[in-house]
Amino acid sequence: MSNPITSIKLVLLGEAAVGKSSIVLRFVSNDFSENKEPTIGAAFLTQRVNINDHTVKFEIWDTAGQERFASLAPMYYRNAQAALVVYDVTKPQSFIKARHWVKELHEQASKNIIIALVGNKIDILEDNENERKVAREEAEKLAEEEGLLFFETSAKTGTNISEVFLGIGEKIPLKGLEDEHNNNGLNVTEDQRINLANTANASENASACSC
């Protein structure tokens, strides 16, 4: 019990094929695969990270970017403490979509939600800066107006990926006094916490099951 564990529920949103699943894969497994199948529905993953003396457990919802799953998104961000809104720096359309997500999160999600705006695929710019279609300044401006964290990343090379998650981890009030306050009225989150603790204990017994 030396390290208190804080769980952070995090959701990834953004247009299809901007690299949400790849960001998660890089963060969780430090891996990358070129041709990934699009996500259907949503995938749930967890990853533990040590920040200072604390262990932070990220519970990540990697959602499908496709339009037809958009109606399910509220289910995932409703109780989330953090959100990554991802766009592709080479696709202006994906940045417009990102603006929409930011707006929707401010309107619908919990008030204290921490949002990070993430411009992915900067590895493409290394060879040719002309490929950039979303100016860094434009994104910074949006981040400033809306009070977002902002990163430009590459899931392919790993640039800035862990910084995104650490940045979020530092902004979330760690387990302690604020804890109860944060979860006020969020019964589901409370349930999960119990459940996930069970799962964690169980995985120590059952070697094949690693949660």
């Binding site: 969780v28 699009p38 995938a43 749930f44 799953f69 289910m75 459940n195 069970n198 017994n205 094949a208």
Partner: protein, 640 residues
């Protein structure tokens, strides 16, 4: 039916016919008494025998065929099983024959024949056996040994036997056209388009090539709708054996094309599966809404890469793979001991009853534990409400989704995916919790094992997650998990004492499940594997279509039918490059046996044409399957 025509054209025709006539009554009696003791065949059953020349000989000019009579082995009458010949029952014979299977028989009794000369497999020399009992027994023994002879087979290893006869079966379905590479060359294709004629999907062909086709299909469909106020079902070109089957489900039109001799009904069934896939992804209500105000909507913009991948995969399973799940409409089950399966189901059941706090009644609709290997899913366990089960098509669609979702993905993640089960409710979505309990690993000998929990509530993810992990913990604690993640009891054809059989598929109708031995493939380049599977598949299809009418209904409740594929021309099989092997002549027998309880498809080793022996092996297989039923099939599952 060319072979028979030759046969009847011979000078001895009349005399043979007359001896047959005199045997008629007696032979019918033989069949019945033979079958009665062990298997209680319906006395009214019909035995049908058909002889079919391989497809590649069809390409020869018919007039040459008559000249090549001397190639045809000398015939000799054997009074083993006489049969009723359905002369119409032969799609792949001469070009003038009818394509459809005709139910009205022309009951001519005909004798079967076998060779005077049987090739000694070990020396390749011709031996005049004259059917002496001694020699024949010897040969039978030797052939029986041959099936244990592969080094991969444990039995073969321990006995140190060497291959005597090749266990490889020839391919009679080589289609010269399909060796070329353009759109027309494919002997099978699927097209999906919208009612406005916009392309959605085709199995082969680039946009440029297929768009004119889509236009024609749309025109033909519209013509019948306008002029006849009906939907076109099929176009049958009997001369060229081409079948076009249509399914019109506004706003979607589907068409299948086949030159393989499939019946309209088979093709329509395949189209239904493709349509079901579309619906599983976008349900019918959404689809109608999308097209309601915009009849020229381009559905391709709405579908995703995954959808096209999945459609392509379904098409490939339908046309090139031995994937009886679709054709038999049944699922394959993971072999497990009766007590093990029973204990697993008990454990699941007790957890469901006692754990109602995490999982309130009604949250879980259906649960599955699956074993996954090379894109093939086998059922390990089923959790279902009493008296309800999901349609096999719905489950197969789910399997397709799972296959792709876990490619290149971290195995630890859990998925929560909405899916519409078209046969359950084509207008709504259900939600599936999917988690891998173990991943395939050669070192530890584990398989990919997947847990699927299905709910109607879209926010039930955490309940499912908790229940899933409780379930797996409990199974592990009871030491039952190992039975699910290790495939210890898989069997090969050589494990069953049924000589001369190359492959079989046995479907237990009661459980909607089937069983077949593991394929033994030695030179397994992907291309060879594909050819091999395709070959087996088409033998089975051929068998099946020989006993159904054009609506896909078996012509009798109980049917036993032999098919005989024979080479009557010089055979140039380019698969076989090894110089040291003398090519076997095509002389294949297959058997299909349908009763109200089961369906059996048998493919014999090449050169086996003794129906007596085949029938005996068939009975052994049926006996074996029945005896091992609790192992081979999930009988009850964990019902709640």
């Amino acid at each position: 039916m060319r072979v028979n025509d030759q046969y009847l054209d011979t000078a001895s025709n009349k005399s043979i016919r007359s001896t047959v006539q005199s045997l008629r009554g007696q032979s019918a009696f033989n069949v019945r008494s033979r079958a009665q003791p062990s298997l209680s065949i319906n006395l009214d059953n019909t035995i049908v025998q058909t002889i079919i020349p391989p497809a590649n000989t069809l390409l020869n000019d018919a007039s040459e065929d008559y000249d090549s009579v001397h190639d045809f082995p000398r015939l000799r009458s054997v009074q083993s099983i006489s049969s009723i010949v359905s002369r119409r029952n032969t799609r792949p014979s001469t070009t003038t024959d009818q394509l459809s299977v005709n139910t009205s028989f022309d009951p001519i009794i005909e004798q079967t024949y076998s060779y005077d000369n049987i090739q000694d497999p070990s020396t390749g020399k011709l031996q005049d056996t004259a059917f002496g009992r001694e020699v024949r027994k010897n040969l039978i023994d030797r052939l029986a040994q041959s099936i244990y002879s592969f080094p991969t087979s444990a039995v073969g290893d321990s006995h140190g036997m060497k291959p005597v006869v090749s266990n490889e079966i020839p391919d009679v379905f080589i289609d010269v056209e399909s060796q070329k590479s353009n759109l027309k060359s494919h002997d099978k294709n699927f097209f999906i388009l919208t009612s406005a004629g916009k392309p959605i999907f085709s199995m082969f062909g680039k946009d440029k090539e297929i768009i004119p086709f889509m236009g024609i299909i749309n025109t033909v469909v519209s013509y019948f709708q306008v002029n006849e106020s009906t939907n076109i079902r099929t176009i049958n070109l009997k001369r060229t054996k081409q079948v076009f089957a249509f399914t019109v489900k506004a706003p979607i039109i589907l068409m299948a094309y086949s030159r393989r001799g499939e019946t309209t009904n088979e093709l329509m069934q395949q189209l239904d599966l493709l349509y079901s896939y579309l619906i599983s992804s976008i349900n019918e209500r959404q689809l109608k809404r999308l097209f309601h105000n915009r009849s020229n909507f381009d559905l391709r913009n709405y579908l995703e890469v995954t959808d096209f991948d999945n459609l392509r995969q379904i098409c490939s399973l339908l046309s090139d793979k031995l994937y009886p799940d679709f054709t038999l409409n049944a699922l394959q089950c993971f072999v497990m001991r009766k007590t093990e399966r029973g204990r697993i189901h008990e454990t699941i059941h007790s957890l469901l009853i006692n754990d109602s706090k995490t999982i309130p009644r009604g949250t879980l609709l259906y649960g599955l534990i699956l074993s996954h290997k090379q894109n093939k899913f086998k059922l390990c366990s089923v959790i279902r409400p009493k008296g309800h089960s999901l349609h096999t098509i719905d489950l197969q669609l789910l399997f397709c989704l799972i296959t792709h979702q876990f490619e290149n993905r971290d195995g630890d993640q859990e998925l929560w995916l909405p899916i519409c089960f078209p046969k359950f409710n084509s207008n709504g979505f259900l939600y599936s919790y999917i988690k891998y309990l173990s991943r395939a690993d050669i070192d530890t000998g584990t398989e990919d094992t997947v847990l699927v929990l299905i709910s109607a509530q879209k926010d039930a993810f955490y309940k499912m997650k908790t229940f899933g992990s409780n379930l797996w913990d409990k199974l592990q604690k009871e030491k039952l998990g190992q039975y699910l993640i290790r495939d210890r009891l898989k069997f090969r054809i050589s494990d069953i004492q049924a000589p001369y059989i190359h492959h079989f598929i046995y479907k237990a109708k009661k459980y909607v499940q089937y069983v077949m031995p593991e394929l033994e493939i030695h030179n397994s380049s992907p291309q060879k594997l594909r050819n091999y599977e395709c070959k087996l598949k088409r033998y089975c299809e051929h068998l099946y279509s020989s006993v159904v009418d054009d609506n896909g209904v078996p012509i009798n409740k109980t049917i036993l039918n032999y098919l005989h594929w024979k080479d009557t021309s010089v055979n140039d099989d380019d698969d076989n490059n090894e110089q040291e092997f003398v090519e076997e002549k095509i002389d294949m027998m297959g058997l299909i046996w349908i009763t109200p309880q089961y369906e059996l498809y048998l493919i014999c080793n090449n050169g086996i044409d003794n129906k007596d022996i085949i029938l005996r092996s068939a009975k052994r297989i049926i006996h074996w399957c029945k005896k091992n039923e609790p192992r081979l099939f999930i009988q009850e599952g964990a019902t709640f």
